[in-house]
Homo-oligomer: 344 residues x 2
């Protein structure tokens, strides 16, 4: 991967043609089929080249009398050096428009809509994580009385992330007391993150209503920060079923298991280097055996400031990378823009 075997122009053209043909049909491609597209050379010449490409590991032969299929390495070379990105067609943009037109203002809702849109236009499973809230900051908070000694804490964090949590107050408190406390805290805590609030909490005397609420805010915000990474929205499992590689029910089972068991994907995505533009993980590169015959096309979206989340697509290794990558990027941009509007 670091030192790909260099290829001459003809081998490159042939590899590219193999990838193109195979992604289109899903059937191993033979020298004769290639000779049609690459009329410059005879099938025999191509056959020789194919043998050499197999030798260096870019192509695989399922069995002796079969055509060639790109290996993970072959796809890697293709993606790194040969792939041409197809601009997102007008028709596809139009197809997504309804999703983004009536965009809601909540973070989760926006991400969910984006997931659906992405699944529709890429024929894969879309994956979206929440923006990493590296110490998200309080924008506004509110306290609503539930019963005598319980209250609901409503936190509005930067990015209009709204979270609520029930607090056991320890002692009875009226709504009026809660309201004035909320007013007071709004002034004090605006713009602060969990860490800074923890300091303020440490100062005050314990036991009082204010102390109880402050302690809860700190612990709750920390848990929100921790959770944020894990949030994975997905959509489009149905798309996998159309792919011929998934007639193998066992394989399908493994993939769906991983997708529904969201934390495995979350872990995978967390180890991702951000800020690399589109990142493509091919086959075994992702490290999960269950996904060894799948690829991931991921990128980051900006949720204002330096908060970023991940959005992307999971599909079979045999994927139209040149088409999927720009679409992922496009949706990421739209999400970023939508969040911008909603941001503080």
């Amino acid at each position: 991967m670091d030192h790909p075997v260099p290829l001459d122009v003809r081998k490159q053209q042939i590899l590219k043609a193999v990838v193109a043909d195979y992604t289109r049909t899903g059937v191993p491609v033979g020298s004769q089929a290639l000779a049609l597209h690459l009329a410059t050379w005879s099938s025999a010449t191509i056959r020789n080249e194919l043998a050499m490409l197999s030798e260096v590991g870019y192509l695989i032969q399922p069995h002796t009398s079969a055509g060639r299929v790109p290996s993970d390495l072959g796809y890697r070379y293709y993606v790194d050096f040969l792939m041409e990105e197809e601009e997102v067609p007008q028709a596809v943009r139009r197809q997504m428009e309804p999703f983004f037109a009536a965009l809601p203002s909540g973070l989760e809702e926006i991400l969910e809509v984006a997931a659906t849109a992405l699944a529709v236009v890429t024929d894969g499973v879309s994956l979206v994580t929440g923006p990493r809230a590296l110490g998200s900051k309080v924008k506004h908070l509110d306290l609503v009385s539930l019963d005598a000694d319980h209250a609901l804490l409503v936190l509005i964090l930067e990015g209009n992330l709204v979270r609520q949590h029930a607090i056991a107050l320890g002692a009875p408190a009226e709504q009026t007391a809660l309201s004035s406390l909320a007013f007071e805290l709004n002034v004090e805590l605006a713009g602060l993150n969990a860490l800074a609030i923890a300091e303020i909490a440490a100062e005050g005397e314990s036991g009082a209503l204010r102390a109880v609420v402050l302690a809860d805010i700190v612990s709750f915000m920390s848990s929100v920060d921790a959770q944020q990474d894990a949030l994975v929205v997905h959509d489009g499992v149905r798309n996998l079923l159309r792919q011929p590689e998934f007639v193998d029910v066992e394989l399908l089972h493994q993939v769906i298991e991983v997708v529904e068991e969201e934390r495995m994907l979350a872990a995978l995505i967390a180890q991702l280097q951000l800020d690399r533009g589109i990142q493509i993980m091919i086959g075994r590169e992702n490290g999960l055996v269950e996904l060894s015959r799948c690829s991931l096309v991921l990128t980051t979206y900006r949720a204002g400031g330096d908060r970023r989340g991940t959005i992307g697509v999971l599909g079979p290794t045999r994927m139209l990378y040149g088409q999927v990558a720009p679409r992922v990027r496009y949706v990421a941009q739209r999400v970023g823009r939508a969040l911008e509007r909603v941001l503080s």
Copy 2:
């Protein structure tokens, strides 16, 4: 369905044995296999009875030399007259405990947790709709300034359903103005639904900040009410893949399509009569051709007062109804209790 063909005791026993055997093994059951369980009669006698049960439509023979399989009608007779509900075993309750132990206080989160728990213990796809908010009522609201002439409306509805919406104010307004307006509206609107608020909105003069916000509250609450029905959480698609009936990829495809395309299910569930305890829809009874080989076991959960939602399981027709039904009911109760705590 309204007038099931009556059966004598022996036919009932045989039908019950066929259902038991078939749900266990997934293989058509023959007279000899039955004779092992029902030692009172010979295989020949059972054979005669099977022929009669086939004639009245309770059993089906996939082909001449195959055993019998219960028809939709047969399952219907079984669940109506023969099924014995198995109490939820201690082990299963324990299995669900972690899910309910650290239950969050938000409506959506609770429903999501319940969906996961239900999927785990029933080996099917769990389905959950939000509680029907037949004119949900305001409990608390808040206005947060976004920029000069935009504000974020945060509505806390009964049941601690928190919703936010961005408002274009039409004219600049400071946070102080918004706060005092929010204070004023909290007093006026507490406990009112969209309809009642619409009346208040109609009274005031238009154009003012207050009028703009009121108008937005009305339209937003109406849309929340409308949406509420549609909200369907699901989990456990992976479970379907273990069932032998879904080696037929085409069938699987149709089912997943329906499940992911949530609105079809929402429509199906909406037409459901509530308050009937457990409702079981077998095979074609659900009316969706895509789900003609599936069954639904549904019930309602109470979200306090007269707000109710639906929770249940989708699985193959060949389902352990006597086991699934009590588990669905159990989870519904737990959800109800969890929501109770969170309720106003």
